[in-house]
């Protein structure tokens, strides 16, 4: 029985072709996914993974090619048809109504009549059954905004199963999860697989591919370049296949030569507009010649930390001493003032904050520096100087295409990020704040960006690196602090850090804070203060 089941493919794609303008997003893509398997799809950003999934889910129509689902040929023109064929999709960004309960979210779109009562009752029985069968336990009456991200994702999976999905497609499902939540998710994958559900996992995290999938397919530049049984391949091989050349997965660095602190953050607290404290009593020092990593699950105060340190968000209490200046809630320093002092900031979200999509690259490369006297002549902002400035930045960071007049939106994610890094790093700041430097950036560029960060450190600059990628935090930083719910839930030297420890800290499941570590910090602090007093 089982033998016959696996003989037909859950999904079979033949010669799928799709173009967007000049971009050949999918070039004769073929893919066969066996029933009941977990199949990984890896590829760099822009390799065409998302396009392929969108075609499979009916968001886009392929220009050519054939889609077979469970042995039957389909042409999907919208997602309802894909759902009817048994495909369920869990998006990277959840599609949930925040103030609805789990139950209400699940029946959204399949209410079963004008009156909700009977539909809700039916859904409740069905969901309880599904929950038992697959080990997907969620409180059906909890509203979404009270659930953790991991549980919200579980609701998304339930939603897909409730609509009859036999094939689940998950797009970067672990991006927002702690390592422990990820493990839990993989356990659920196991249960789903046992029940015969086929899972298609799209990710760029090779570690996860290696640990959970049965087969893996690699996409590069719109084409499927390899299909492998997971047991027969390795991270190194997959990385090489994705990029098309050998990749250094480890960052090469010398020991840090740490000097005086350039930034001292004391009891920093930041509340949002509703008065909720997003950052509580955070204290740390950032020293010249080191990279201080800030780890944590996304949304635990990292954004507020970066924005408070760079003067964008007002702090509620506490103080920051930076480059010899002091700022607190009553005496804030503005972003332009801090920039003048030598503090540069690469924001977490390049589309929202880092650049202006509608502006040309040369105008985006000016953001924050438009008052610079090197570019202005009197009242005239010289276009030729603006372009020359951009050209120099593009050359220094190998931004492609090197066209200052191209619209910022038309660069790939990696090149946009390189342009922002160039803008912030080429002015030789003393303190550099970097948020998610490699989010949505392809592997080749990641290597380059990490090297530049290390170069800054070796040049005696102080670097604060905020990232949700533990690999990145562990390989680039010298010291690590962990944020959980706006508080520092752990401090550790990068040399002593491993994924498990950091994961526990991120979930705040470890003993409060390593007492020895804290004592070291306090001692160091006390010593510096006494030094300063001595100088005075």
């Amino acid at each position: 029985m089982n033998k016959i089941m696996t003989d037909t493919f859950a999904i079979e794609l033949t010669d799928i072709d799709k173009r967007f303008g000049a971009v050949h997003a999918n070039n004769k893509v073929c893919l066969q996914i066996k029933r009941g398997n977990i199949h990984g799809i890896v590829g760099e950003n822009g390799a065409g993974k998302s396009t392929l999934m969108s075609i499979l889910y009916g968001f886009y129509q392929a220009d050519a090619g054939q889609i077979d689902v469970l042995g039957q040929a389909y042409t999907f023109t919208d997602s309802h048809q894909a759902i009817a064929a048994g495909i369920g999709m869990v998006h990277q960004h959840f599609m949930l109504v925040e103030n609805f309960t789990v139950l209400e979210n699940v029946i959204l779109g399949s209410e079963g009549g004008a009156l909700l009562a009977s539909g809700l009752a039916d859904a409740r029985t069905e969901l309880t059954r599904l929950g038992d069968e697959y080990g997907l336990k969620v409180d059906l009456d909890a509203t979404i905004d009270t659930l953790s991200v991991g549980l919200q994702q579980r609701v998304e999976i339930l939603k897909a199963l409730y609509k009859g999905a036999k094939i689940l497609i998950l797009d970067e499902p672990t991006g927002v999860l702690t390592p422990q939540e990820t493990e839990e998710l993989f356990r659920i994958f196991g249960a789903l697989k046992q029940q015969g559900v086929t899972i298609m996992l799209i990710t760029h995290k090779l570690r996860e591919i290696m640990s959970i999938t049965d087969q893996v397919s690699v996409m590069r530049a719109g084409q499927m370049v390899a299909h492998r049984d997971t047991q027969d391949t390795s991270r190194e091989e997959l990385a090489e296949l994705m990029v098309g050349r050998k990749v250094l997965l480890q960052v090469d660095k010398k020991p840090a030569n740490v000097r005086a602190p350039l930034m001292k953050v004391k009891r920093l607290t930041v509340a949002d507009s509703q008065g909720i404290e997003r950052l509580k009593d955070v204290s740390f020092e950032l020293r010249a010649g080191e990279v201080l990593g800030v780890a944590g699950v996304s949304g635990n105060g990292q954004t507020e930390l970066l924005e408070a340190l760079s003067g964008i968000t007002a702090m509620t209490s506490g103080s920051i001493e930076v480059l010899g200046f002091e700022m607190d809630a009553k005496n804030p320093l503005t972003p332009d003032r801090l920039r003048d002092m030598g503090l540069a900031h690469v924001p977490e979200d390049r589309h929202r904050m880092g650049l202006i999509s509608d502006f040309s690259a040369s105008e985006s490369a000016l953001l924050g520096y438009h008052k610079d006297s090197k570019i202005n002549s009197g009242i005239w902002l010289s276009n030729s100087k603006v372009e020359a400035n951009c050209q120099a930045l593009m050359a220094a960071f190998d931004v492609r295409p090197a066209d200052p007049n191209l619209k910022s939106a038309n660069f790939s994610g990696g090149n946009q990020q390189k342009l922002i890094l160039a803008r912030e790093m080429e002015r030789n700041p003393d303190v550099l704040l970097i948020g998610q430097p490699t989010r949505g950036v392809d592997i080749g560029a990641i290597e380059f960006i990490h090297q530049r960060i290390i170069d800054m450190r070796d040049a005696g600059k102080a670097v604060l690196l905020v990232s949700v990628e533990l690999d990145e935090i562990m390989s680039v930083s010298d010291r690590i602090i962990v944020l959980c719910d706006g508080e520092i839930s752990g401090r550790i030297d990068a040399a002593d850090a491993d994924e498990r420890t950091l994961g526990m800290m991120m979930a705040n499941a470890l003993d409060p804070i390593d007492p020895l570590q804290t004592m070291d910090d306090q001692l160091a602090f006390a010593k510096q203060e006494s030094n300063q007093e001595a100088q005075v």
């Binding site: 503005t334 972003p335 929202r352 202006i356 509608d358 502006f359 924050g368 902002l381």
Partner: protein, 373 residues
Amino acid sequence: MNRDTRITWINRLLLPFLNILTAFAVTAVVFWLIDVNPIEAAQVLLYGAFGYEEGIGYTIYYTTNFIFTGLAVAVAFHAGLFNIGGEGQAYVGGLGAGLAILFLDPTLGAWVFIPASIIGALIFGGLWALIPAYLQAYRGSHIVITTIMFNFLAASLMVYLMVHVLREVGQMTPQSELFPTNSWMPFVHDVAAGFGYSIEASPLNLSVILALVCAVLVWFFLWQTRWGYAIRATGKNGTAAVYGGIKPKRIIIVAMCISGALAGLVSINELVGYQHRLIMDFHLGYGFGGIAVALMGRNHPVGIIVAALLFGTLYQGGAELAFEMSGVSRDIVVVMQGLVILFCGALEYMYRPWLIRRLAPVKKQEELVGAAA
């Protein structure tokens, strides 16, 4: 020509052209429905706007107003603000120009009067926009609501002032006394006569030069200075602007004041250039027309000048139409303007997908392979 260039041309030229054509086609249907021969009407309209010197003068005279208000809307729009208070700002700007002239010694020369009236219009128009801008920046009141309310406030204020304070002594009509002759913005036909050319008299005055200068200045300010950069950055992406050290509150204030000041200049053309006294309701329609002009002109000074000319033509040609043809009232101008706004503004991209498919299709696989080989 590669595909991107073609798309640019489709967007910039072909699309607006087709939209206007559609608007005129629908207008033709309207004419046909009210038993007017559309072709005849078009002839009368075009003759009225461009057929003789006086008509051309009127057309450009109206165009001048639309350039001022179009620029006003565009400056605010680049900062991400929708200034629909051009009407009120133009009206109060007139008060500024009028007061400057009425309170100065009437024996002074034009060199004092004209700059003084321009400055008066700029300041009063700008200040009238400053209050909504302040409320938006520091109190969070939405600029669309406040500017439209300020249009009503301006109207009430002007009625009061015209009736009770500024009315000419011994007159019943709510208008001020005549401005001294040396304060008048020179008529173009007078200037031409000075150079020995004879042109039919029309209200066209040198304010049109002022409008063109403003267009150049707006272009320079927005695209060639750091302040313009800050304004455009704020309009395109406020979060990124804050990150870049730009202060959005300040941008709102600056952009709105410039916007209001530009709208205020309508009064230079209308009052200082033609009516030569403060009158009621000289501004009606230009503030709102400016929104359509800016929209059609893609918020760029060159586009605004072209769009303003179109609106000026409709204004003058439409007036001629109402005058010449029985069965056509002046309201037809409003209908035509409405249709132009509908097709050029609201339905701006109606033809775009079709045009791009026809004129700039995505190349097929074979062609690409052929090109690469």
